[in-house]
Amino acid sequence: MKLQLTHTPARRSLSKLFPLVLSCAAGLALSGCGGSGGSQEITETRTVTNPPSAAAPMGASPASMAMAPAQASFAWEAPAGWTPQPATATRIANFKVDADSDAECYLTVLPGTGGGVEANINRWRSQLSLEPYTPAEMAELPTLKVLEKDALYVGFEGIFTGMGGGEKKEGYKLLGVIFEDGGSAVFVKMTGPAAVVDREKANFESFCASLKKTAATQVASNLPEGHPPIGPTAGSDLPAGHPEIGGAMAPGMDPSAALPQGHPDIGGVVPGTMGDRNDDSQITQWTAPASWTQTPDKPMRLVTYTAGPEGKAECYVTSLSGPAGGVDANINRWREQMDQTPLDAAALEALPKITILGKPSPMIEIEGSFAGMDGQGGEGFMLLGAVCPLEGETLFVKMTGPAAIVKQEKDNFVAFSESLK
């Protein structure tokens, strides 16, 4: 093949056309530039058969939330006498606390840090025309249990200027709890005349205590065998400051041959916070003893087996992202479940080790009175446990049951633990 570049007529043509080509290229480039200002007519309309009503907040359904990053849904019990108000852009729960004043209480959840706990507490103080807390004062703030977290609990009185710095109201009080939860900043705030807020303090605390997260939309990252990996996965891979992925998440998409050409990979995301099940666990295979019976999936567990006569002993594997509190703390948590005193550092160091995934992993054997997390247990129980810290996750293998059965299954437990890969 002879290159046309060497062909004289084409080269002459090219040189003649160069200014024209350059102009066209410039025109195309400029035409791609967006502009500011200007007015456009809205041309697209739809008919909505279930239109929003006067008080309806925007709901979270799998369809609407499935593609969003983590945003858990909440439930609560409104105290008697509190009047629900329409939700707003950031107020998930919104109440008028007192019919005769402007006292109000609301719940806000913002993805990310929301600016930080301390910054927001000082922001609240500025709304009451108060000086910011010093670090020492901040460290001494009491806490209140909300959503199983120790939330900082503040209450102060001052001249309320509100969020927009408007009309000043003397003798106002603010009660608030604030904490970070699973990559979101959670605020519960009540403001109003001091007398009203003092009167409603117990209701405020009961409202905070009643907060629960509802079953949230989550995405399967467990793809069928042979699936190419898809998009975002564990929380440990998230960039710093990124909201945790859990609750409503982007569905994992299958980029298999069944997807149309050019279809983008769609990431599935998995919760990966400390304490959350790590579905990006490295563990995908194991060899269970023949006498064990696998049971249906249970929350937070990679796999569960029953063992012994009538399946009275149970053995399961859990993987949690990150250090999950640490090896020693978890071993002592198990001892607590068995109504035993915690071990000191020397005793923890002296625990026997088994090999899981090539790592020496402490194994503990505890007899006692078992109080499991789900309330099951009793006297004369035994717990076998092994903890294996890995890169980005911590593996727990635990067996509980009547002491006689668990003792018989000890060798099987060790073999099963060491078979994990």
Partner: protein, 387 residues
């Protein structure tokens, strides 16, 4: 006239073909490297969907390149004009011509897919029904009348009309039967809402909230957009200002002309010509593991005239009325044995869905014809020589 002839010669030349192919190779390489850090969607938008790319070299945007979109348009023109210029009647050229036509058809299919296809997802819990699917990436603003007495009208502003806004830019939307004009500004493709801190720029806050832009996520569908909205009520010196954000717990309500409207920023959605009900979702696990081996959905497709039960599974999508529903995902991931499950379907509407297949068939026919013709000619020649 001489310019036209010159343009024709250049456009049909082999040199242009080689140059286009070279740039396609370079852009494919750059796009592949780009997606490592910025994700597939961002790489596609930057290199493959754009007319031009300004490539950064050591952090400085200095190298302008044609985008793949422009290159494929040029390739289409080049192949067409080249075929016309070099066409010679005769059986020896028929196979090559057919193959060329197949390639042109493939390129045309790509263009139709790019311009006219729509894709998104439909996620349903067992027992739920819907006739809408949503985009993974695109946004829209819906201005919906608040009514308690029957259907309402929703005015839709597609994202393409406001997602190009840079900081400081704004655009106004209006409509005769809408009681206010809507001014949109400060669009951020990924943002979070934060309380405005003391001392922060008050002009940037709305109701003591600010929209804090965040870096783009590599996975495009995890970006949550936000922007400022100002409703200027017609014939009144009244404006209502709010933030539209993809994760708002409630819409921005505007009241104008005695009617309330809910403004929401949400994923672009489209209606299906039928309704889908998820009757049952099933999944199977590999023995001894927690990894699913397969999952599938039983759905009912409902139309005014007919209802049909369909089974959708991996590699067995539902193709109906121009839409294809693929079994894509499911959840909740930690569902217990009796927990309610949801199923996610990838939904695609692509007029050129099978065009690549047809193009490949045409190319194959052309090449087979050409190879067979050449073989026959060669055998005849060999026969003549030996005789």
């Amino acid at each position: 006239m001489q310019y036209l002839k010159a343009a024709y010669r250049v456009a049909a030349s082999y040199a242009v073909s080689i140059a286009i192919l070279f740039f396609l190779l370079v852009l494919t390489l750059l796009g592949t490297l780009e997606q490592i850090d910025h994700g597939l969607f961002a790489a596609q938008q930057k290199y493959f969907s754009a007319l031009f790319v300004v490539q950064e070299v050591f952090g400085h945007p200095i190298l302008p390149l044609p985008g793949v979109y422009l290159l494929l348009i040029l390739l289409f023109i080049n192949l067409t004009l080249g075929g016309i210029m070099r066409f010679r009647p005769g059986w020896s050229h028929v196979g090559v011509l057919i193959a060329h036509l197949g390639i042109l058809f493939m390129l045309l299919g790509g263009f139709v897919t790019f311009k006219y296809s729509t894709d998104g997802h439909l996620t349903l819990y067992e027992g739920e029904r819907s006739n809408e699917f949503q985009s993974y990436f695109d946004w829209e603003i819906a201005i919906t009348e608040v009514r308690t007495d029957g259907p309402a009208k929703a005015f839709i502003i597609p994202g393409a009309q406001f997602t190009h806004l840079k900081p400081g830019e704004n655009v106004t939307f209006h409509r005769d039967d809408l009681a206010f004009d809507l001014v949109l500004s400060d669009y951020a493709p990924n943002a979070e809402v934060r309380p405005a801190m003391p001392g922060s720029d008050a002009s940037k806050s709305v109701g003591n909230l600010v929209l804090q832009p965040r870096p783009l996520e590599p996975e495009g569908e995890r970006n949550v957009a936000g922007l400022r909205a100002k409703a200027a009520v017609k014939n009144e010196a009244v404006t209502q200002e709010g933030l539209l954000w993809g994760l708002s717990s409630a819409p921005f309500r505007v009241t104008a002309g005695g009617q309330a409207y809910d403004l929401t920023l949400r994923r672009r959605s489209w209606q299906l010509p039928f309704e889908v009900v998820l009757d049952d979702f099933t999944r199977e696990l590999h023995p001894g593991t927690s990894k699913p081996s397969s999952f599938s959905s039983d759905v009912t497709v409902i139309e005014p005239q007919a209802t049909q039960q369909i089974h959708i599974s991996m590699n067995k999508p539902l193709r109906y009325k121009g839409y294809t529903l693929f079994q894509a995902s499911w959840g909740p991931q930690d569902a217990g044995p009796n927990d309610r499950l949801f199923s996610t379907f990838a939904v695609v509407k692509n007029p050129a869905d099978h065009w690549p297949l047809y193009a490949c068939i045409v190319i194959t026919i052309g090449l087979l014809f050409h190879f067979c013709y050449r073989l026959i000619m060669h055998l005849r020649k060999e026969a003549r020589v030996s005789s």
